[in-house]
């Protein structure tokens, strides 16, 4: 057996793309200026192949002879480490053993097709560098070239001899003696085994095993830990909470049931026979009706902790995981689009300010975007909607929300495993990757997390999941299984445990196909290896199912059977290694009572800055702030049109670069009915009042949908709570308050929540240079995702101005609500009133705007949110390529009672809810004004679309004079908006 290496360099005259990226990253991080590395991508090939074989593979498979040149040799041969001129130092970066290497797996299969005897392949990166100071080289390796959690670095020639990994281990049944432990020892056990169970939970388990007069096996304990983890059971939000705020005390038996689910129940009851929800909060995703043939399903997940350690792999497996949710809903929904929302620290954070163990936010952002791109694009699912929020508090704990919408045939909405069904696993193989992902994601991050939970960080393999998707949908249509679920957090433990909850299951662990030898039975059971799904297949269709999988090259293996025993029994080569009562597993977790309190911050008036007069500078500053700035750099890396259903794209307007409020697509190609996807979130309002933060998020998500043409009577919502450490009553209290708003607003606007997920304990703890322990908690981050329905997509409108001479209106009222606004942040102003939702107004406004859109009265419509009216007008102008002439006088709302200059500043920049800017053709003005009047919706004519290239905004000044607050060319506005994230 020989270990060969093939290095592939750009041919003379061709660009070395990887070198350019390294040089740029090194410059960004201040590690090295003008670095000019020389790079190769490479392959290690192990087998009995001849030199000629390897050269043939290099020429015909591995390299592109038109643009690349290869260097081939046995590992260690001098030809492989002959430096190019000026760059004597050679750094190799290899995936750590066991880390997913999709390219290597594909190469192995492709080499087999050549009939060449290569058994194992591994990829590598080779980077030639100039002589650098040791510290610089070190920093470059760990911060730019490699990520320690998944890759390792070899400086100098490679010396390894073999690629094999994994060795058979001897079976050993392990019991965990815990019956005699005291409380402290139980807690210690929970910690050392990474169970993340509380003392009470450990004591409950202890009492159970005492009653059985035996100790648990390791796999039983792990199963309990997975099932009871925050990630899988949502015990905080589903648990008892004693809450108090300025209104008194309230006790929740189950917070989610009594707020968010309750709202949906109320709405469904009120809708009675017009109820359009199908399955909510029970399956892997929420399901609502779409048309005669299909339901639509939606799920949004978070993948925060893995993304903090390995942004690429974390985002990758985040999107991979959420795609399997719709696929595991009912009997399987076809994914039709993805959404992605991220929260990062500002990418210009000075590198020297990073706490230990933290990746630079720019690198986190680049990695996350690349991870979503590479996985989503390969899956053939358009990424149509998203948002990015920047705040320094996301430094150690970035947030990555991934969502997938799917289409489910109406007759495939229900699933139930039957006694006697085979438990079948399909897709990827099981490896040691992702061990303890579920329990890890329920814990707080620390600067040691990386070393503690290396196994929880994974790289995805999209191609395996795409094959899985294709085969599942074919099997679904042939009716070959009774139930399906995804194998995500908790691995088989969760998937089989949940599917068999009301039945019972027997699993033969040795049957699971493994990536390599050496896994213990426990590792097999709890591994969270990606791209696997578990199905309940009746014995009579197994042959057909297996044949279908074989025909598409997907591995399908029977690992057990559902049996009506009420027990979960695990065996390994004939020995029972675990035997749990399903009732104890799913119902035995002790209810936790948590305290939650909320004290409203004292009301402080917002004091205007002394220099409040430069509206133009403020507008440019807000347009150029990271949260508002164009995300085109990100959006263009995603395929947003695959599947052919795109109607309103994320970028719209004359130059295809304006910010659309929502995306619209036609998921069924021969139908004109559409889906609108949007989101709302504003962590900045949370400090003033989490209730109004949540309400504003809901209003924003709905108005984004309505702005493009969705019917407000058919908008479903999803909640994703990402919060700090909820054992702190104040932190939990702010969450309760947000959940109360979710209830109230959903009921008031008849927009049911259909699914949700929470991620708690998002805090980062480290020890600073002075030896002080410090914690950064994220701001309360509630993402509201909205799934709207568009009856006829031909009526959709976009936000770009369409024609000079058209009339502009503000719909809605502007209240004295600068609190938490971009204006306030720009000037460092504290206090003020946070935007609230005026419910009766919202109830009237959304249907009125929708009616106008359906009647074809609007040429453009834009949601007013971050940055208020000024930003909305600027965005419409820069997207449409036309100027606008706006007069602020007469804009209704509390603003009318204010004195100058506050009145004008509020009208320009307040972020009051339920407002739109609408463009109406002169001919349609009477019909439009009548419609809004009849429906009692406040609306005010603010100006016209201008033939010029300038945006002007004027208002009456104190002494009856007119004052021009803003007068800027659209080119300048666009430039300010595009510049911040116009990355190379």
């Amino acid at each position: 057996m020989t270990l060969w290496e093939v290095d592939i360099y750009a041919a003379a005259g061709q660009r070395d793309v990887m070198a350019d990226a390294i040089a740029a990253a090194a410059g960004d991080l201040g590690l090295a200026r003008q670095l000019a590395p020389h790079t190769a991508r490479g392959y290690l090939l192990e087998g009995d192949a001849t030199t000629a074989d390897i050269h043939r593979l290099a020429d015909e498979l591995l390299a592109d002879r038109v643009v690349e040149r290869t260097v081939v040799g046995r590992v260690g041969e001098p030809v492989l480490h002959t430096p190019p001129p000026g760059v004597p130092v050679c750094v190799h970066v290899l995936p750590k053993p066991g880390v997913m290497d999709p390219v290597a797996l594909s190469a192995e299969k492709a080499i087999a097709d050549f009939g060449i005897a290569v058994r194992t392949v591994r990829t590598l990166k080779k980077v030639w560098l100039p002589d650098l100071a040791p510290a610089t080289l070190q920093a470059l390796c760990s911060k730019v070239l490699a990520n320690d959690s998944v890759e390792h670095v070899v400086i100098g020639p490679l010396t390894l001899q073999r690629l094999d990994m994994g060795q058979a281990t001897r079976f050993q049944l392990i019991h965990i003696p815990l019956r005699d432990l005291d409380g402290a020892a139980l807690e210690e056990l929970s910690r050392t085994r990474q169970l993340y169970l509380s003392r009470i939970e450990m004591e409950t388990i202890q009492a159970y095993y005492r009653s059985l007069q035996r100790d648990p096996t390791d796999v039983e304990l792990e199963t309990l830990a997975q099932t009871w983890s925050e990630h899988c059971s949502h015990k905080t939000l589903g648990g008892r909470i004693a809450y108090r705020d300025e209104g008194g005390e309230r006790h929740f038996e189950n917070l989610l049931k009594e707020t968010i689910f309750a709202a949906t129940r109320t709405i469904r009851r009120e809708l009675a026979e017009h109820d359009w929800c199908v399955s909510v909060f029970e399956d892997n995703a929420g399901v609502v009706r779409f048309d005669e043939r299909y339901h639509v399903v939606f799920k949004v997940e978070t993948h925060n902790h893995p993304s903090a350690l390995e942004p690429y792999g974390g985002a990758n497996t985040g999107i991979g995981g959420v795609i399997r949710d719709p696929l595991g809903t009912g009997l399987g929904a076809r994914p039709v689009c993805n959404t992605d929302v991220f929260c990062f620290a500002p990418p210009d954070t000075p590198p020297e300010q990073l706490p230990p163990g933290v990746l630079h936010p720019r690198r986190v952002m680049q990695g996350v975007v690349a991870g979503v791109r590479d996985y989503g694009n390969r899956m053939g699912i358009p990424t149509v909607n998203g948002a990015i929020y920047f705040d320094p508090r996301y430094l150690g704990n970035p947030l990555v929300y991934c969502g997938t919408v799917g289409l489910l045939p109406c007759d495939k909405a229900r699933k139930a495993p039957q006694a006697g069904d085979l438990i079948v696993v399909i897709g990827g193989r099981t490896g040691r990757d992702g061990i303890h992902g579920a329990t890890f994601s329920s814990a707080e991050l620390t600067s040691d997390s990386e070393s503690l939970s290396g196994g929880a960080v994974q790289i995805g393999n999209a191609i395996t999941e795409k094959m899985l998707l294709d085969v599942v949908l074919a099997a679904r249509d042939q009716g070959l299984y009774h139930a399906i679920t995804d194998c995500g957090a908790g691995g088989f433990s969760s998937a089989v445990g949940e599917m068999g909850e009301h039945l019972g299951a027997e699993v033969t662990l040795e049957a699971a196909p493994l990536k390599y030898e050496g896994l213990t039975y426990t590792e097999i059971w709890i591994s969270e290896a990606q791209e696997r799904m578990v199905l309940s297949v009746p014995p009579e269709t197994w042959d057909a199912f297996r044949a279908l999988c074989e025909a598409e090259g997907v591995e399908a293996v029977i690992i057990g059977r559902f049996v009506p025993t009420g027990r979960l029994r695990l065996t390994y080569h004939g020995q029972t290694v675990g035997d749990l009562d399903m009732q104890f597993l799913h119902g035995g977790r002790p209810a936790v009572v948590r305290d939650a309190c909320y004290t409203p911050p004292p009301e402080t008036p917002l004091e205007l800055p002394r220099q409040s007069g430069d509206g133009g500078a403020d507008l440019l500053g807000i347009l150029g702030s990271l949260n508002v700035a164009s995300k085109e750099w990100v959006i263009r890396q995603y395929d947003h049109e695959v599947q052919g259903g795109s109607v309103v794209k994320p970028l719209v307007g004359a130059a295809n670069d304006g910010p659309s409020d929502a995306a619209v697509l036609r998921p069924v190609l021969d139908s004109l009915q559409g889906l609108a996807i949007a989101c709302g979130m504003n962590p900045c309002y949370g400090e003033l009042d989490p209730y109004h933060m949540a309400a504003s998020g809901i209003d924003e998500a709905i108005r984004n949908c309505v702005a493009v043409g969705a019917d407000p009577a058919r908008i479903a919502l999803l909640d994703n709570f990402c919060w700090g450490y909820t054992d702190r009553p104040e932190t939990l209290g702010s969450l309760v308050r947000a959940a109360l708003a979710c209830h109230d607003l959903a009921v008031a606007l008849r927009t049911p929540f259909i699914s949700g997920k929470d991620s708690l304990n998002n805090e980062f703890t480290y020890v600073d240079a002075a030896g002080q322990r410090r914690t950064i908690a994220i701001p309360p981050s509630l993402l509201i995702s909205a799934l709207g329905q568009v009856p006829d997509t031909r009526a959709c409108v976009t936000m770009d101005l369409k024609r000079p001479g058209n009339v502009l209106y503000q719909v809605g009222e502007t209240d004295n609500e600068l609190g938490g606004s971009h204006y306030a942040r720009r000037h460092g102003l504290r206090g003020g009133h946070v935007p609230q939702v005026h419910v009766p107004r919202a109830q009237r406004t959304f249907p009125a705007v929708h009616a106008a859109i359906r009647q074809g009265l609007l040429r453009s419509c834009h949601d007013m949110s971050e940055g208020g009216l000024a930003v909305a007008i600027a965005e419409m102008a820069l997207a449409g390529g036309f100027g606008a002439a706006v007069d602020l006088d007469g804009i209704p709302g509390q603003c009318t009672a204010l004195s100058e200059p506050l009145r004008t500043i509020v009208r320009l920049f307040a972020e009051s809810n339920t407002r739109f800017v609408c463009e109406v053709e002169p001919d349609h003005v009477p019909a439009w004004e009548t419609l809004l009047q009849q429906r009692e919706v406040p609306c005010h004519r603010i100006g016209t679309v201008a033939a010029s290239d300038r945006v002007t905004i004027e208002a009456q000044a104190e002494h009856g004079n007119r004052r021009r607050w803003i007068d800027l060319p659209i080119a300048q506005l666009k430039d300010a908006w595009q510049q911040p994230l116009k990355w190379r």
Partner: protein, 263 residues
């Protein structure tokens, strides 16, 4: 003449198969999605079809290089089947990943026995995947069946490895002289030119702004842009501004293929 039958070839990672089939059906054809494994089991299978289409996606994940692994499968096992298909006067279309496969399998431009492939599709100058709409113009004199009667197209691109590079300037000139470089990136009103346009008119840095290439017969054609994503006015990025027409530009490519067989 019966309805022309189109074989849409699926491989692991193909993901534009369904909308491409839909486009062919809108054009009057009858499309079947066929997995590559079926073709490997039965290389005679394409004989029942008039058009063979390799749609977009990421065959085998585009691991190693875009389209490379599927291209090698064709080289190793299906070269004869493809040759037979071509010689029977039938049509082969490769879109995006399908174009990468046709080029890298030697189906579109045969290899030089000594120097190997004459051209390739490699990484965009930007170094990353990019989705945007492009203006396309056809070469003045060409024999490409799929582009008959078409002067301009407005279509989206969505790829990472779409930069067309010939092995030498001579080869590029030759291909141009033979009228093989049939589709070029352009400007809204521009004419086809060999002079490289700047980004984003030329979105990936392709030599001579090449977006699509035909074989010597004009019956085999590969292109990076996605005609199946613009068969309907609602897919045009500015339809809400009154731009675009019904049907979308891309449908003509599929109609040309179907009409070639007499419909």
């Amino acid at each position: 003449m019966p309805t022309p039958r189109i074989l849409i070839l699926r491989a692991p990672g193909t993901n534009c198969d369904r909308e491409t089939a839909f486009a062919f059906e809108q054009a009057g054809g009858q499309a079947d999605l066929v997995h590559i494994n079926r073709l490997l089991e039965d290389p005679q299978l394409p004989d029942r079809y008039q058009v063979l289409c390799l749609p977009g996606g990421f065959s085998y994940g585009d691991d190693v290089a875009a389209g490379r692994i599927l291209a090698n499968q064709i080289r190793h096992h299906l070269a004869e089947a493809f040759t037979r298909f071509k010689e029977a006067g039938k049509l082969i279309l490769g879109i995006c990943n399908g174009f990468q496969v046709l080029l890298k399998s030697g189906v579109l431009i045969p290899d030089d026995p000594v120097d190997g492939p004459s051209a390739t599709l490699t990484w965009n100058d930007s170094g990353r995947f990019e989705a945007r709409w492009s203006y396309l113009v056809t070469a003045p004199a060409h024999a490409c069946v799929f582009l008959a009667g078409i002067e301009r197209l407005y279509l989206p691109i969505a790829h990472a490895e779409g930069k067309f590079v010939a092995r030498s300037p001579d080869i590029l000139r030759q291909l141009g002289a033979q009228g093989r470089l049939v589709l070029r990136y352009g400007t809204p009103q521009g004419v086809p030119t060999d002079v490289p346009l700047s980004f984003p008119d030329n979105p990936n840095g392709s030599e001579a702004n090449v977006a699509g290439v035909a074989d010597a017969t004009g019956r085999v054609f590969g292109l990076m842009p996605h005609p199946e994503r613009h068969i309907h006015r609602l897919q045009h990025p500015r339809w809400t501004r009154g731009e675009g027409q019904e049907p979308g530009d891309g449908l003509a490519v599929f109609r040309n293929a179907v009409r070639y067989f007499g419909l």
